[in-house]
Subunit: 192 residues, 2 copies
DNA sequence: CATATTTGGTACTGATCGGTAACAATGGTC
DNA sequence: GACCATTGTTACCGATCAGTACCAAATATG
């Protein structure tokens, strides 16, 4: 059994359910390997969670970065972000990063450091996106770039939480349209 | 040991930490009673959680209802709600109801029913508040009362989650000011 | 071929979980 | 005093947890 295959199975288990409900025993059973084998590869549950989170970030969060970096203007980019967040079929069980972050106190030092690292990267990505839009005169408002970045990040997190809780796609989209409408001074378009 | 005293201890334990991290053993230890004693009173962990949630709703969520019912106009009421949510010292560890709701899948049938019941009541309270404001011509926008109620409810939940995670009061207030600014149509229009 | 190292497994440790059987003390009722 | 229901206790149950000691096959290296 390949290490990355085991890691994928662990990542998906943590992702589909809740990390707090997935035990090391369960992952071994899912991956069809023994416990000492897993411990030899990842060292501890903390190491496994950290590695799964790392793989997740490389595989999923980079998509969000791509969306933010390629948009032509503020509105189109936000629309693409809303589209991805509310409808992407891979995210029907929410976002593993936000699941881990919401249960921070249960993580070991490695997974905790990984969460903080990803959090900082995400904040930086949102921040530089908003800064670029402000520099381009695309987002005038009185709101600071820092506050906007945190707000945007947390609204996306909320939307993923809603998706994980089973809220239907259109409701998630409506709520995101509302919450992100603060970025556009003009009225929002009705939902399609 | 009085039953309500035990219930208060359990409620505060669930409230201060996370319900998923508080075991029946821990509550017995905190309350200074034995396990069979607790089980005779509450039947099961499910019954205890349900009772604790019930007590919490009567004790805390009624405050939110009061804030919503006594406001003179939309803006003043929302400001009072933001003030309470972001600064009330009792809510520094978040809202027990939302903590329970976010771990729904771990609850037994009684606590689950209680969560759903409180959720419905909360939605109704937010809904009738917004409906009254719409009838009074205080909130014209194109947003439906139902969507507004859900949005409002979830933004408050997010704010409580942020408080529980240790985010400072002023940051929570700034985010709430932003997210609830969608309710005031008199917003500035810098540019179209 | 012989040796050493890695890779796999079985089967355990001690701890904690929710829940309960069995017993002791208490207190009201006649 | 005799009786009985309630309240509290200690000490256990089986299950599950994260983590590990130990063995067995395989594979690489000389």
């Amino acid at each position: 059994m390949d290490n990355t295959a085991v890691l994928d199975i662990a990542m998906n288990a943590y992702w589909q359910a809740d990390p707090v409900d997935i035990s090391v025993n369960k992952i071994c059973q899912l991956a069809g390997i023994s416990k000492p084998s897993l411990y030899r590869t990842f060292g501890s549950e903390d190491g496994l969670k950290s590695a799964a989170l790392d793989r997740y970030a490389a595989q999923v969060l980079s998509q969000i970065s791509a969306i933010l970096l390629q948009g032509a203007n503020l509105r189109d980019t936000l629309d693409a972000l809303i589209e991805f967040t509310s409808t992407d079929p891979r995210m029907t069980t929410g976002c593993l990063f936000y699941k881990m972050r919401s249960g921070k106190h249960r993580l070991g030092p490695k997974a905790l450091a990984k969460v903080d690292q990803i959090d900082a990267v995400a904040r930086a990505v949102y921040g530089s996106f908003l800064q670029a839009r402000r520099d381009a005169g695309d987002w005038p408002g009185p709101v600071s770039v820092e506050l906007g970045a945190k707000y945007l990040s947390e609204q996306i997190a909320l939307a993923f939480t809603h998706r994980a809780s089973g809220l239907d796609t259109s409701a998630v989209r409506q709520m995101l349209d509302l919450s992100l409408s603060i970025f556009q001074p003009v009225a929002s378009k009705p939902q399609s």
